[in-house]
Amino acid sequence: MAETKSISAIEQVLIDDFSLFDTWEEKYEYLIDIGKKLALLDPSYKTEEYKIKGCQSSVWIHSTYKDGLVYFEGDSDAIIVKGLVSLMIMVLSGHTPKEIVDAPLDFINAIGLSSHLAQTRSNGLRAMIKQMKLDAAAWGS
């Protein structure tokens, strides 16, 4: 990226992308596709230490800090959840700890997936967001 976009600008891009699809099937196929394209997480991070508790599937998030910006990578053994991990990384990676901690992250509702994620609580989206914000806060302190 030539010019770094703000978190809310990236969210808007995703909202626009998803708005191209009318049916839940298409939205999910797109999400699954995004999941499949997620860069591989180094297996050395797929450990209990990086695993997020409270998910029905396994989710791992690993973060690094460089030049004042936090970078995330992650994975999940469930492909839809992996799509969500991927979305969260697209949105949050490469920003300052403060930007990450303060991000309201409404886009999940806006892309029209949440009404089809009855299992939001068990899919661990919230746990995932919480962990990413905690990581960011830790780097910033």
Partner: protein, 410 residues
């Protein structure tokens, strides 16, 4: 048993108002009956009728409403007694569910009877609620827990059980029907083997009571616990059956009102059975509605509903097995209408999300049986559990929804 008309699923469905609802714009297909069954209108009405016409606290009041409420509450106990073949109403303790029944026995019987070195036997199939209470009391009393192994289909290894039984075994607590796999355990044999060794047997009937004919005297189990909400009754009410002599010898579980005969600051004498174990104002409304649920089962006929469930099970088993990469776990002849399966390379959670979007409710995950999942070497399964109000057409819907989900995930 009354003479029953031929089974008419459409007529039965009419009794369950929830079956008319839509999920995500589609007709609800409810295949999570092992988690909780839906309720007929009569059960819903029984709860609301109690609150709107004779709500009162029971056993103590001397007015008309209290009389009516007490009578209805005790009629429910009588209905449960007959439903499971207990010998007296004193053997029927109302609890809030299976979990509380097991905890009651573990704390009350366990504290009074377990000593260091004693052994308890459970099985690999257990629900967490038939594991954790025993671990807690075993730790407190210095007792230990042994676990009956299973084969890859969830069938208990009875020879291994025989070897685990010894003079130190004080109690065997066993799941009657596996909630995760639907497999029926040979509890009669387990009970007779345990009794020969002088050990008591507690049966976790959470999944069996709705499907199988239960006669606790014939079974000769010492304790049995089950939940109202899995037998078309309300949530928040369950039953603990215990043999009278055992219950009589056991200390109370909780202290409070209802369970006492006389209280002074020096000493309290306890009420007789079954009230000794029902401290405090009980869940009157739901206990009363539990009788309505039992009436419903008796009117429809358990064997008649079971025969229909078998049809659903056989049909669904054949259809599901035809799906490439799908493997049923617990595909044994002796089982209830529960199908637990895994699909090569597919996470159960992905399936559940995609099925939910098609209006289908199934359960995925470890089914509160993490040690079982670990033994089977899987993270979890997808479980479809059928009730008599389910239809062949709904199974077809499930199968085509699965095909669609798999196509999307590929």
């Amino acid at each position: 048993m009354t003479d029953h008309k031929p089974f008419d699923v459409e007529q039965l469905r009419e009794l369950f108002p929830i079956l008319k609802r839509k999920v995500k714009g589609k007709d609800l297909v409810y295949f999570d009956n092992a988690a909780t069954s839906q309720k007929p209108q009569s059960v819903v009405d029984a709860v609301s009728n109690y609150y709107s016409t004779y709500n009162a606290n029971i056993h103590r009041g001397l007015h008309t409403l209290a009389d009516e409420a007490t009578a209805a509450y005790e009629e429910s106990r009588e209905a449960v007694k007959q439903f499971i073949g207990a010998s007296t109403h004193e053997e029927i303790i109302f609890t809030k569910g299976t979990t509380e029944g097991i905890n009651l026995v573990a704390s009350s019987w366990g504290r009074a009877n377990l000593n260091p070195g004693d052994e308890i036997i459970i099985s690999t199939l257990e629900h967490h609620s038939n594991i954790v209470p025993w671990q807690m009391i075993a730790e407190e009393r210095g007792a230990s827990i042994n676990v009956i192994p299973i084969d890859d289909n969830g069938v208990l290894d009875i020879n291994a059980f025989k070897k685990l039984l010894n003079e130190k075994t004080k109690l065997v607590s066993i799941i009657h029907v596996s909630n995760a796999l639907g497999v029926i355990n040979p509890v009669e044999e387990i009970i007779s083997l345990a009794h020969k060794q002088g050990a008591l047997v507690m049966v976790d009937g959470a999944q069996s009571v709705v499907h199988l004919d239960i006669d606790v005297q014939k079974l000769d189990c010492d304790f049995m616990a089950f939940s109202g909400h899995k037998i078309y009754g309300p949530t928040g009410v369950g039953v603990l059956y215990g043999k009278k002599a055992l219950l009589e010898a056991m200390p109370p579980y909780q202290g409070g009102g209802e369970m006492i005969k006389e209280v002074t600051f020096e000493k309290t004498t306890y009420n007789e059975l079954p009230f000794k174990f029902e401290a405090g104002t009980p869940n009157i409304a739901d206990v009363i509605a539990l009788k309505t649920a039992i009436d419903f089962i008796n009117a429809e006929g358990k064997p008649r509903m079971r025969a229909y469930e078998e049809t659903l099970l056989t049909y669904a088993t054949d259809k599901l097995k035809a799906i490439e990469g799908l493997k049923i776990i617990g595909d044994v002849p002796h089982k209830v209408s529960v199908i637990s399966f895994i699909i090569d390379g597919v996470h159960p959670q992905d399936l559940a999300i995609l099925l939910d979007n098609q209006g289908i409710a199934v359960r995925t995950g470890h089914h509160c049986a993490q040690p079982l999942m670990k033994r089977l070497g899987i993270v979890g399964t997808t479980r479809a559990s059928f009730a008599p109000y389910n239809t062949i057409a709904e199974i077809d819907t499930l199968v085509s929804a699965l095909h669609k989900a798999l196509k999307m995930l590929k």
